[in-house]
């Protein structure tokens, strides 16, 4: 099962178009579904082959929902996912085959391992589902355990509760790799670990990525970690993409006020680099009924009347760097908007 690279290196590994998930919630007297949580509210992005795309945003902005949508663990309300040129669920790429190529590591290392299975059985489960004989699957599981730094002879037959958090997360990584996937989604995979263990696991992830030619989607609320590991970063706010671009561009030249605020609230490692933006105050609005216009306008330092009237599109600012803010979009009506260039006027 050598991962076949169909479209060549230039074709994005994953293309997401108009992905939307609304959860109906019960409200009102007789439990009629009269409201919906707009957990993911129409997002588009691409994941390039071999890169690590970091995803950041406050709690509840839809990061995990996006991850679960990508794996079809929940059905999208709308939208399309294209994996290496083929639509997921089409004849060319069945859901089961896609799931073989795309795996996930969860945040809670304990609840993501079945307490009644030994760890080698947990790792060997997925290959067996895909038709690998038990013996061979267990052999592969032991190889992977060694590869993630757990000596098989000592660990293979243990149960999850007999491992530390860091060890369990290594098992989860091994489990995700057991199908030899091309894309691995890591949802807060290191967030629950101690700092020193976290560093070890991050280094392991980098090694594995190189060795197996993996592509990562790395979800985290820890901006330092995201900056360390990501090639590109996507910032989400209330179910939408606020900003997306190269890691350095986003961290050094944040275009969206939300990103700037996030960055300023993080303890910067570099004192020269502190932004003057006020850190975020308060909680994000309720995703059941998000603010009109720009979703961030209730908390934005640069807010102007136009912001609540007009929803900013996710538009390019420089190169592949894109942001959904009127203040950086020429001709938007925002007083800080740059003058329209001739190219845009012509268009």
């Amino acid at each position: 099962m050598i991962p076949e690279d169909r479209g060549g290196p230039a074709q994005p590994l994953l293309t997401v178009k108009g992905l939307l998930k609304h959860f109906p919630v019960k409200k009102g007297l007789f439990g009629g579904a009269s409201a919906k949580v707009r957990a993911v509210d129409g997002i588009d992005f691409e994941v390039l082959k071999g890169e690590t795309l970091g995803v950041v945003g406050e709690s509840g902005c839809g990061k995990s929902t996006t991850a679960r949508l990508l794996l079809s663990l929940i059905d999208p309300t709308a939208g399309e996912i294209v994996f290496d040129g083929e639509r997921v669920g089409s004849r060319a790429l069945s859901l089961k085959e896609f799931r073989r190529q795309c795996q996930m590591v969860f945040q809670d290392s304990y609840s993501s391992l079945n307490p009644r299975l030994t760890i080698e059985a947990s790792i060997a489960f997925a290959p067996q589902v895909h038709g690998v004989p038990r013996k061979e699957a267990v052999g592969r599981a032991r190889d992977l355990l060694a590869r993630v730094g757990l000596e098989p002879r000592r660990f293979a037959e243990r149960y999850p509760h007999e491992l530390s958090g860091g060890q369990r997360q290594r098992v989860n990584i091994a489990r995700a790799l057991a199908l030899q996937p091309r894309l691995v989604i890591l949802d807060e995979a290191v967030s629950a670990l101690d700092k020193s263990v976290e560093a070890q696991v991050l280094n392991l992830l980098l090694d594995l990525k190189e060795e197996f030619g993996l592509t990562y989607i790395f979800i985290s609320h820890d901006l330092n970690v995201v900056r360390f590991i990501s090639d590109r970063v996507m910032v989400m706010y209330l179910g939408k993409v606020a900003e997306i671009g190269g890691s350095e561009e986003v961290f050094e030249r944040a275009q969206h006020p939300y990103t700037a605020a996030l960055l300023s609230s993080m303890p910067s490692l570099d004192p020269d680099n502190r932004t003057e933006v006020a850190p975020l105050a308060g909680d994000p609005p309720n995703p059941i009924d998000p603010p009109p216009g720009c979703r961030f306008h209730t908390r934005c330092a640069l807010v102007e009347p136009v912001c609540s009237a007009k929803e900013p599109p996710l538009a390019a600012t420089e190169g592949s760097h894109r942001a959904a803010c009127l203040a950086v979009q020429p001709g938007s009506g925002h007083s800080l908007a740059p003058a329209a260039t001739s190219v845009e006027l012509a268009a």
Binding site: G28, L29, F30, G31
Partner: protein, 313 residues
Amino acid sequence: MLAYLARRVAYTVPILFGVALVCFALVHIAPGDPLVSVLPPDASADLQAMLRTLYGFDRSYPEQFGRWLWRAAHGDLGTSIATGRPVTDEVFKAVGYTLRLSILATLIGFFFGSLFGFVAGYYRDSLVDKAASALSVLGVSVPHYWLGMVLVIVFAAILGWLPPTGAGSGNEGFFGSLRFMILPAVTMSVIPMGIVARTVRALVADILAQEFVIGLRAKGLTDWGVFRHVVKNAAPTALAVMGLQLGYLLGGSILIETVFSWPGTGFLLNAAIFQRDLPLLQGTILVLALFFVILNLLVDVVQTALDPRIQRS
């Protein structure tokens, strides 16, 4: 609160409908033609056909159910085959007796149960506590019909202090008729006693372990103050448990009523079963189940009203 109330009532309606459906089905899961029980053995074919039409057994099940439900909703549960009297009258006369007994039993059980539970929770892991938990295990394990027999043996057969069975002739006056109730009510009270004791013990131990209460005691608040706090906080749950137990006793009294020949619903059921009086069986079960469902509803509502902190969704 109002929204909760409406939801809770709305949830009860389909349950009531289902309960009615089960009671209706009872007659039809009974082996043989339901008509047999109302027919004289030598009935002619004509008479059979006539009665079949009369009772509506010739119609489709949904139609029969609809008609039965409609009449039941208007208080008509049919006619007892054995006595020829309306089932509704028979049932309500018996319900009065059962209710009297169950309420007395619940009160006894609640009083002693909370007493044991309270002491046990207050002096945790003491001898009293151990005795109380042993007692509650015995309470839920004892076959109550046997306990009833033992009490009859001791207090009626051997000591001769109390009447063994029956409800009296009705001319004994209040205390005279109370004598008849003592044995069955005490027997019946054993189950709620064990359960109430268990609940109250856990509640009291929980409340006393709250930091707030520990603080109160450390500040030298009198035991009386702590006691009042505990009672106030334990009461809603304890009362709810008591209400539910009353419901169980109402429906579960059949064995005890049989032991004591107490003329309540259990006794009525017993008679209905052995005379194959299916309308009477059906009507009695329906009334008892309705009591139970509605009592559950009331307990929930009252508990929510008493304790608005309870989150319900």
